[in-house]
């Protein structure tokens, strides 16, 4: 006897953010299944293409999915970042073939995807995000992307410098990551940028960072403060000293947040804004952004709203 599944969840075993969704769906008595990308060897999976029938066996329990699948919660990368580690041939095969398999779940075109990886792939591009943000009426910081330090920058002013895409590196066999940095114009002039483009933005300071989690037409916004004030530079450098304060965005800014998520073809988006000099500036949107760190602030309403969408409520 197989159990027919209404909601498919693609994640991995240690993604606790997905636990919130599954715990909520379980409490609601929903028929869902979670497939973890790091546990495929524990599953028996067969996809009958002619009937779009996906049959799955986990721990002796049988499940099936067909074209009536209602929704997919997709917590998987759309493209993989090279972290330059050596892996054996089994691991290489596992990664490439299962990654392709879950991409091919795109056959369930009638399901609601949070988010559809096709749209996530497009939305992950920061320069395109800025274009769309400007298009919906957001203020955006003055921005250039360049591999030349021959720019008309003021050597005595500060600028924000960041990577176009999170730069995950190995430097002398040690892991490295690039935060957003505040850099003097003189230091940009003195840097050899030829090997890689960077984003240079105007430095908006003092500022307050704002995180906006958008789910369809719903908004959950927090201010990010340290000792009651905005954080100079990248707030992610401060791990435990921050307060996340829920607040209501002005209606026109909320609407712009909803619009850009919609314009990018997404249901969910985690938007970073800055409040500077009384004006809201769009910084970026994360189509696969984290939200579990905000569940407490919003009394578990974020996962409940995501589940509402997954259940088409």
């Amino acid at each position: 006897m197989s159990n027919k599944i209404s909601i498919l969840i693609i994640s991995n075993k240690f993604d606790f953010t997905t636990d919130y969704i599954c715990a909520e769906l379980n409490a609601r008595g929903e028929k869902y299944i979670r497939l973890n990308r790091d546990e495929f060897w524990n599953y028996d999976i067969t996809l009958e293409v002619a009937r779009f029938a996906l049959r799955i066996e986990i721990e002796g329990q049988k499940y099936y999915i067909n074209e009536s699948l209602k929704s997919v919660y997709y917590r998987a990368p759309t493209f993989l970042r090279d972290v330059f580690e050596v892996i054996d041939e089994k691991e290489q095969l596992y990664r490439s073939q299962w990654a392709s398999f879950i991409r091919n779940l795109a056959i369930y075109e009638n399901a609601l995807w949070i988010n559809n990886p096709v749209f996530t792939y497009k939305a992950e591009n920061k320069i395109l995000q800025l274009k769309y943000a400007k298009c919906v009426g957001f203020n955006i910081p003055e921005t250039i992307i360049t591999n030349s330090n021959d720019q008309s920058l003021d050597k005595n002013k500060n600028y924000v410098v960041k990577s176009i895409e999170p730069a995950v590196l190995k430097i002398n066999q040690i892991n490295a990551f690039t935060y957003t940095n505040v850099v003097r114009g003189a230091d940009i002039y003195n840097s050899d940028l030829a090997i890689s483009p960077i984003i240079i933005q105007e430095y908006l300071n003092p500022k307050i960072d704002i995180r906006v989690s958008v789910i369809g037409n719903f908004i959950f916004a927090v201010k990010i403060l340290k000792s009651g004030r905005g954080v100079d530079g990248d707030w992610r450098k401060y791990k435990t000293e921050l307060d996340f304060i829920p607040f209501e965005l002005p209606e026109n800014i909320s609407q712009k947040c909803i619009q850009i998520v919609n314009k990018l073809g997404l249901i969910f988006g985690a938007i970073d804004l800055i409040l500077f000099n009384g004006k809201y500036y769009f910084i970026e949107i994360n189509p696969t952004g984290e939200w579990a760190w905000l569940t407490k602030c919003f009394e578990n309403k974020i996962q409940k709203k995501i589940c509402d969408y997954l259940q088409d409520k």
């Binding site: 953010t17 997905t18 998987a76 493209f79 993989l80 995950v168 990551f177 935060y179 003195n190 992610r236």
Partner: protein, 68 residues
């Protein structure tokens, strides 16, 4: 000329621990979440559970787990 800014400013860090099981808990593959051994209560719904309470857990590879 100095080193490229993204290299000069890179933050070095130890490899995060991967696939660490949780004390007193087990992953329930049928329910799709971690539960405490005895109570079967979802770990993430426990105030004391040290899961992703801040964004710090994902700073090093971005938010999308693309760095596999």
């Amino acid at each position: 000329m100095e080193e490229h800014l993204l290299l000069a400013k890179a933050h070095l860090y130890e490899s995060p621990k991967k696939n660490c099981d949780i004390d007193n808990a087990v992953y329930d593959a049928l329910k799709g979440f971690w539960v405490y051994n005895e109570s079967k209560f979802p770990c993430v719904m426990d105030e004391k559970f040290a899961g992703p309470r801040t964004k710090k857990d994902d700073i090093e590879t971005g938010e999308d787990q693309k760095g596999e």
